[in-house]
Structure formats: C-alpha cells, structure tokens
Amino acid sequence: MSDSAETPEQRLARWTATDAALGIAAEAEQLESKLAERDSEIDDLRARLGQLTNRVAQLEAENADMRRVASRVPFTSLARRVYRRVRSTAARRLRR
C-alpha cells in the first residue's frame, strides 16, 4: 500500500536508490567471499611452498654430506689408471 504523501516518481526514485544500495552490498559480499577463498588458496599454497622448501633444504644437506663422503674416498692415480684400463677392456670386449 503506497504512502500517499509520496508521488509515484518519488517512490520510483527511492526504490532505485534502495536497489542500488542492496546491489552494492551484495557485490561487496561476493567480493569479500571471493577474497576469502583466494586468501585460503594463498595460505594453502604457502603451506605447500614451506613443505617444498623444507624438502629442498633436506636434500641439499644430504647431498652435501654425500659430497663430503665422496671426497674422502681414496681415489688415487693408481686406482684411476686401473679403473680406466678395466673400462676400456670391457668396452673392447663388448664391441666384439
């Protein structure tokens, strides 16, 4: 039931303003919802990135240890010569 103090034109103008305000509020809520979803995705990716960073650090530490062990192996010039000779012999025989 319309308020008789208000003309139809005034009523229409008020409705347009109300609808615009509700529309803006709805769009803002949708944006907030989307932002929250994206924030959650960022948190998730950060957690996964942390896990990957830890894994990289772990592998790097292990590799460093392995390099140290490898450097301590007494691979002398005699051992190198024997190793090369055995490899070339094996290669020759395999070609036949």
């Binding site: 039931m1 319309s2 139809p8 229409l12 347009t16």
Partner: protein, 258 residues
C-alpha cells in the same frame, strides 16, 4: 481487508491459443477478474506500442482496471515498478499478459501461502499443451525452473511438485508479494531489464530474511514468449553472478532430482 494490486505489463500483443486468435492482455485480465475472490485492482502498464483499441477494450472490462502509460523502451523491471508505484493494494501480484487463470481459487491460495515471514509466492504455470513451465526456481547448477517440461500433473520425486514448499525463487510471470516487502527492497532492479530480475528480487528477499513459497494449487496457463521475444544477454548473466553467485550455487531447496 486484503487488497491485491495485479500489475500486468503489456504492449497489447495478439496471437493464437488453441487455434483461436486473442489479445493476450485482454484475456489475461478477463480471467483474473472472473476468478479473483478477493478485493483486487488491475493495473495494466501499457507500452507505447499498445493499440488504442486494446486500451479501450481493457478500459471497458471493469472499473477495477486502470491503465498506466509507459512510453520508454521496454524494461520489465521498470514497468513493474511503475505499476507498483501506482498501486493501492497491500499486496502486489506481478502477472505476465500471456497468462490465463486455470484454478478458480488461485489468488486466495497464493494469499494463504503468503503468511508471516514469506516475501513472495509463485504459482504453477503450464504451457498451452499442459506441460510444466514453472514450479519454482532452482539455482544450484543453473538458473532454471523446477520440473520444466514435465507433464503438468507430474508429482515429481517425493511429490515435490505437488507440495506447497519453500523454494529458492519464483518467476515474476506470476508472483505475489506484500507491498511493504517490495517497498523495502526497492522493487525489481532496473539493471536487469529482461531476464533474471525475478531471481535478483528473490535473492534480495532471501538475504533480508524472507522466504519464497511455491503454491502448486494455484495454476495458470503461461503462453510464454508469445508476447515477447526472449533472449538472455551476457551482461544479465554477469550481473546476477556478480551479485549472488555463491548464494545461487548454494541453493538449499533444490533436491537432487525432481
């Protein structure tokens, strides 16, 4: 005492139903006047294309019929709002001009369904061939009508199409809403001139706390799109999603299948 303002947008289109010619708005209003068992006024918002002869015919139907001129390009929301701005009833009934009442008690039933906390009530609409056009909206996966295309008397799963029930939304082709509710949310958004203005309206109501009800015993024919060429514009989809997307996909009233 309750008074319903029936708002009918029209440009006075003519067409055929059952092989017989008719002016849609005249027959729609005639059927409303013949069946309404409550106090009503009918406000026909006449587009600039409406022939004078149709306007005259409407004028002569009843003193309860009023014409309000709309001279601008067609915008369904603007037209409904214009009619509502001239209404004196405590309830508004938006009604397409390409409809015709089937069930004699339709308006009383819709009013009965429009109890406390209810913001809008929709009817069962059937095509000319009797198949279901509208039994409430469903929004979960797309913006659709529940049971669209099923036989008009189909009960649906668990009788869902035959029960008065809360739904996500209802079509503005036949929607009852209390005037104070319409007033509180600013009517239909004029930013959606052709499609989804009813979806937007129902979402505004639901977000404000009102519920939407489908009344299956209120049955009307809807000779859809015989009086207007339908076509959904990308900007209409974009706007409805920008306003309501998360709520649309979270439709709590859509059963898995009907």
């Amino acid at each position: 005492m309750t008074m319903v303002s029936v708002i009918v947008p029209s440009i006075g289109t003519t067409g055929e139903v059952g092989g017989e010619g008719r002016t849609f708005v005249v027959e729609a209003v005639r059927s409303v006047l013949a069946s309404a068992k409550v106090d009503i006024e009918v406000i026909v918002v006449a587009g600039r294309e409406m022939p004078a002869v149709v306007a005259d015919e409407l004028d002569q139907l009843s003193p309860r019929v009023r014409l309000v001129d709309h001279r601008e390009a067609f915008n369904f929301s603007t037209v409904i709002n214009l009619g509502a701005a001239h209404a004196t009833g405590d309830h508004l009934l938006m009604l397409n001009d390409d409809t015709e009442v089937i069930s004699p008690d339709w308006l009383r039933l819709m009013l009965d369904a429009c109890g406390s906390g209810v913001g809008a009530v929709g009817a069962k609409l059937v095509f000319e061939n009797g198949t279901l056009q509208h039994a409430g909206h469903t929004y979960r996966t797309s913006l659709d009508h529940v049971g669209f295309g099923l036989p008009g008397n189909s009960p649906g799963r668990n009788g869902v199409l035959t029960k008065r029930r809360e739904v996500a939304g209802v079509t503005a082709a036949c929607m009852l809403t209390p005037y104070f509710v319409f007033d509180a949310v600013g009517g239909l958004t004029t930013r959606l001139p052709g499609n989804y203005n009813d979806v937007d309206y129902c979402m505004k109501l639901r977000m404000a706390g009102w519920s939407i009800v489908y009344e299956p015993a209120a049955v009307l024919y809807h000779f859809e799109s015989q009086s207007r060429v339908a076509g959904i514009k990308p900007e209409e989809i974009e706007l409805i999603q920008r306003r309501w997307l998360t709520h649309l996909v979270d439709d709590p009233f859509t059963p898995a299948a009907v």
